[in-house]
């Protein structure tokens, strides 16, 4: 984990989402599924974002503008500066034999970098609308389903599932694939174990998601 003041190098619209490129600033991109804390201009606390892509000399984050902090991040322009901290938490285990990436909505964010790392395995992505599904272009070899169809209807048997998405989706994937690796979310103030704000119930105890996760084996969180 390191902190750097970096420059925004680009900001591009991907469907309803924003792909924010920043200079790498000497930071290690880390393992897919790890995340960074991004300073949200004008807000007291930073925001956790999965690394989406790691082009040479850059880091890129796919951001859904759902509130004050993400809106401020999506409004950044090339040349603006922000502080980022990372990589943080535990990413996906990459020692899997037949990987299948599963993503829902903004949960596709960590999959492009994960896909590169695993040699572009097949992926199943679920979206709320065709517009949201534009984000699928960032993930190679992806099959797209649109609501009311759910990703769980499109997961072929016999794969090692690596998933990220909204909680109901993760819960459904966990039931279907007890061996899956799932990336969870919780409100986070610090991202590095300092605040105890990101507590989730793991193995029957409240633990810090930023320290134990965000990627966890499906059996750790009882849905």
């Amino acid at each position: 984990m390191q902190r750097a003041q970096v420059e925004v190098t680009g900001s591009e619209q991907v469907g309803p989402y924003t792909l924010l490129h920043v200079a790498r600033g000497g930071l290690d991109p880390g393992i897919p599924g790890q995340f960074f804390m991004l300073e949200a201009p004008g807000r007291p606390l930073p925001r956790p974002m999965s690394l989406c892509l790691a082009p040479p000399g850059e880091l890129a984050f796919l951001i859904d503008a759902i509130g004050s902090g993400t809106r401020a991040l999506c409004a950044l322009q090339p040349g603006d500066e922000l502080a980022i901290l990372g990589p943080l938490g535990n990413g996906y285990r990459l020692d899997v034999e037949r990987p299948l990436l599963v993503g829902g909505g903004i949960g596709v964010a960590p999959l492009p970098y994960l896909s590169e790392s695993l040699g572009r395995p097949p992926a199943v992505l679920g979206f709320r609308s065709e517009g949201h599904a534009e984000a699928a272009r960032l993930v190679p070899n992806a099959e797209v389903v649109i609501e009311p169809t759910y990703v769980t209807a499109a997961i072929p048997a016999g794969h090692d599932v690596l998933a990220c998405g909204p909680e109901p989706m993760l819960a459904a994937v966990a039931l279907l694939e007890p061996g899956a690796q799932l990336a969870w979310e919780a409100p986070m103030a610090c991202g590095y174990g300092a605040c105890y704000g990101c507590a989730v119930e793991l193995d029957g105890e409240l633990k810090r998601l930023c320290v134990e996760g965000p990627v966890l084996p499906a059996e750790a969180i009882a849905a």
Binding site: L85, A186, P187, A189, Y192, Y196
Partner: protein, 296 residues
């Protein structure tokens, strides 16, 4: 002058490098029994700070002494242990059990726990009981949610506290944008960060004037300028809380910024700034209300 973390705002074992950038590390409050803390969500951002209702999640004193403290002792940074309880006897027991532990430099009495009455009488009682139980230096951590904080500080002083840590958070509420229900599962939570700064500064100012005790000042410090103001109000040391969440490099940064501020003031060393806000203004003209009013 020391820069510490605020209790509950850093885990030295998961972030040892950051802990070592401090002059002393303060533990999260340790209670007699283990506590899981409150149900999530237990943090929320507000416009100028944040709320927390962590609920003193900690392993309890037994496991703290057997597992945590030995590892803290090996970090190479001074260790202050924050303790909290729900009755006066809890504080006495906790201090008694820490008394012979060489790893512990200072005990901080968190008397601003939920379910502990925050009136002068009971703060005096707690400090008195703790004082009888240990020879370690005692700092008493005060809440700003009181009509007269100087009175509470005086009660703590009379009962034998060696210093004051101030301030703890003050109760605040945030409502979810869509549901209008509280963001935190507990409803309200403790407000920290920039919104707290003027309140904390007033508390330090009042308690320095009333007691002259050494103070660790905290509440919304984000810069060397903020730290300088706490020193001037009467706190020779400062603690960093919420700022550590957005900037874990803050201890080093603020140390540099503070040195620059003091250089620009041209008052010599930092010691000359301690309590400067209480100094009488230089000339008689500045105390005439007219001159003060019509300043240009």
């Amino acid at each position: 002058m020391m820069i510490l973390n605020a209790s509950g705002c850093l885990d030295a074992l998961t972030a040892p490098t950051i802990a070592r950038s401090l002059d002393a590390f303060v533990t999260k409050t340790v209670t007699p029994l283990p506590r899981e803390g409150n149900a999530p969500p237990r943090i929320a951002e507000v416009e100028h700070g944040m709320l927390n209702s962590i609920g003193l999640a900690n392993p309890g004193i037994d496991r703290f002494l057997s597992h945590t403290l030995p590892r803290l002792g090996e970090l190479g940074v001074q260790v202050w242990v924050s303790v909290g309880g729900f009755a006066t006897a809890d504080y006495a027991d906790l201090c008694d059990r820490l008394d012979d532990r060489p790893e512990v430099a200072v005990i901080e009495l968190n008397v601003s726990c939920p379910n502990v009455d925050d009136v002068p009488a009971s703060v005096g009682e707690i400090v008195g009981a703790a004082r009888a139980a240990t020879r370690k230096p005692l700092y008493t951590k005060l809440s700003p949610a009181t009509a007269d904080i100087a009175e509470v500080a005086l009660a703590a002083q009379k009962a034998g506290t060696d210093g004051l840590s101030m301030v703890n958070t003050i109760l605040g509420l945030a409502l979810d944008g869509r549901t209008l229900r509280p963001c935190l599962s507990r409803g309200a939570g403790g407000l920290s960060g920039p919104a707290l700064k003027p309140i904390a500064l007033a508390a330090v100012y009042a308690c320095y004037a009333a007691t002259g005790l050494p103070i660790v000042g905290m509440g919304g410090i984000t810069s060397g300028r903020d730290a300088l103001e706490f020193v001037a109000a009467g706190a020779p040391s400062v603690a960093l809380g919420t700022i550590l969440f957005s900037d874990p490099t803050a201890p080093g940064r603020i140390r540099v910024e503070l040195a620059n501020e003091i250089g620009q003031l041209g008052v010599g060393e930092l010691d000359n700034v301690i309590g400067l806000a209480h100094a009488k203004p230089p000339g008689p003209s500045e105390i005439s209300s007219r001159t003060a009013a019509v300043s240009g």
